[in-house]
Symmetry: C2
Subunit: 127 residues, 2 copies
């Protein structure tokens, strides 16, 4: 896989970010957002994202990710590609390895979308 | 806002909620979380969730949801079932109709999981 000159911007991340609770989502935006949530809808991808995000310095070499799973390299690469195409991670090739970090902008956008209006929380709901 | 004795328990929602960025996600928790994100990974389900959440009073009758989409009733029912099984909405039958509302606890849990440590946000990243 030739990955020189990787884009760093979250070009595939949908633009910001009304909460789902504030107004009905339009069809186009729903398609964009569903793509990002679908990328998160897999246990291996969630674990990869978490491994990258919680790694020292906020980035992880692909060489540090493959040994964690009982999966072949190409399968891990496929999952990383899905996360990257959804704008959830960015990759930076340095020498032999690609280093991944999470995209703060996309995570923040998802958090904003899922934000609750305090008025939506019925009284008496346990925290 | 009618909020009489609506069920609020999210029995299927995974328990709380370390951010993905704080520590590697364990395999069991990843499976639980992936199920919820997968439920959000469909444009129709996202729009249904948004229609319910943003509806007056925070709840919507299934009779108010079906007309919005060019889809048959059973398809809408299937999507509502997926959202319900993922703990994202609750349903309450009153007379002929089922009334849905979002589960604040599950939305909050997902928001917590996606929360960024401020230290994870590189300086100079645009807001």
């Amino acid at each position: 896989m030739s990955k020189q000159a990787l884009p760093v911007a979250d070009v595939s991340a949908p633009a910001c970010c009304s909460p789902l609770t504030s107004e009905p989502l339009d069809a186009h935006r729903a398609v964009e957002l569903a793509r990002v949530f679908k990328a998160l809808g897999d246990p291996v991808r969630l674990r990869l994202l978490s491994l990258i995000a919680s790694h020292e310095g906020g980035e992880a070499c692909v060489c540090e990710l493959t040994g964690v799973f009982d999966l072949k390299g190409p399968t891990i690469s496929h999952h990383l590609k899905v996360l990257k195409e959804a704008g959830l991670i960015t990759g930076d090739r340095r020498g032999t390895w690609i280093y991944y970090r999470v995209s703060p902008r996309t995570l923040r956008m998802l958090g904003d979308v899922l934000t609750l209006d305090p008025a939506d929380e019925p009284a008496g709901v346990p925290a």
